[in-house]
Amino acid sequence: MKDALERIPVPDEEPARERAHKVVLTAFAGREPVRRPSQARRVALGVGVAALAVALAVASPPGMAVVDRVREVVAVERTAPALFSLPAPGRLLVASDAGVWVVDADGRKRLLAGYREASWSPFGRFLVATGANELAALEPDGGVRWTLSRPGVRHARWGGTEVDTRIAYLSRSELRVVAGDGTGDRAVGHALAVAPAWRPGAGHVLTYVDRSNRVVTRDLVTGRVLWRVGGRGGVAALEWSGDGRRLNVRRGRRIDVLTRDGRAWTGLRAPDLAVVGSAIRPGSHAWAAALNERGRSEVLVVGEPGGRIFAGRGSVTDLAWSPDGRWLLIARPDADQWVLVRSDGGSIRSVSRIAQQFHSRSFPRLEGWCC
């Protein structure tokens, strides 16, 4: 019997081992050593522990848990009047009324005027920006590599490998794809106004929301639809994990986490809260969710290390993880503030007067923190 069970081949055994090896060792390397919390940190950590049971319940594979209320406020340790530096390596992309800004780790900001949205290329060497009727591939210093004129351009996303990349974008309701060098622009189909998401890894596999509000994953090399799933509520955002094993689908009051082949894995349901932001932590399957309810807000991290890492008055919106996964940037438009929380809850700080710093009347939007 033992020999027979040992002989049964496990499909995809070696690729699965390689993927797990990468994820497990990345998580292990990012693990913080056990230490006694300082007095100053006890409030924040105490709240984190209280929230942990909620977050772990959310993460359990059998199904979704329900988050139904906001509790304690986590105190910010210190507030800076300006963004003097980022706490981790990498560069931020920020969209404001003035245009798109590239923010270096040392706090230097560069305005790329005339663009409304932007996102990083897969390795952060370039960015793709959109104006009203223009798609542009840019250097981070603002140098223009190429542009493409199309009506109503938005939601551009750059994916692929180091040697072969594609950009997917919406032109009005048409989903289009162009090669990273600006050639071969073509229509893929029609889609709702949700940013498409490239599945990391080999090939060119794109996930988007079709006009019937279904999440569709299509291999663009063969043209074949790999899977499509429906669901209640409009989709607000799609995000693949870095290893291409998980897809987070954010809707108005829930987040569905799907496996690579589109099956439900876990998620978060918040019937009394608006789920306004989510972000997968780099190098892991942990993810953060931003929740608002009647003038209060909280941010949960589901996965390792999990827990509620922020709660406070006013709303939260965008979330962005630092490239090393150690810091989470939380946008608080009501407070005109960014909050930076260390992922283990051990440190929390904020930067005020964000709109002014980015020459904007409306609160700037976080577009990514990359490499």
């Binding site: 499909p11 995809d12 292990f28 594979p61 099956r263 399957h285 390792e304």
Partner: protein, 159 residues
Amino acid sequence: MRGAQRGSVPDMEALFDEHWPRAHRAAYLVIQDAALAEDIAQESFLAAIRSLDRFDRRRPFGPWLHRIVVNRAIDAARARSLRRETELTEHATGAEEHEPPDRELLAALARVPPDQRAVIVLRHLLGYTPGEIARTLDLPRGTVNSRLRRGLDTMRGEL
């Protein structure tokens, strides 16, 4: 184990290399779904890492990990059968699935309820005694024996 608790990446890698294959296989045999098995085994390793500092290093790592894997696989198998599928439609059929050649044994095992399947995997793949399985699954030993017997009877009938 001691090295991994101190934060040694090579020691953690050695633990992974030693325990991943059986954990992955055990998850697959219980859940019978390649993608879910990978997820379960991977999440179990991550759960073990999260609890590494609290682990009593006088005890072996394998049974601790297998306990997490098998319990998660049972939960996932139960949830899969209970989960309303109305929201998930039009999955591609066989897009990334492979048919294992040893269909008979796998098919026979698939006819066994997940609770009994888990006991068979713990006993005959991982080599635990009924007493150890009872402690792993937090069950009376008599229940383990009856699940084992009923599961094997079902498999014999199928084979």
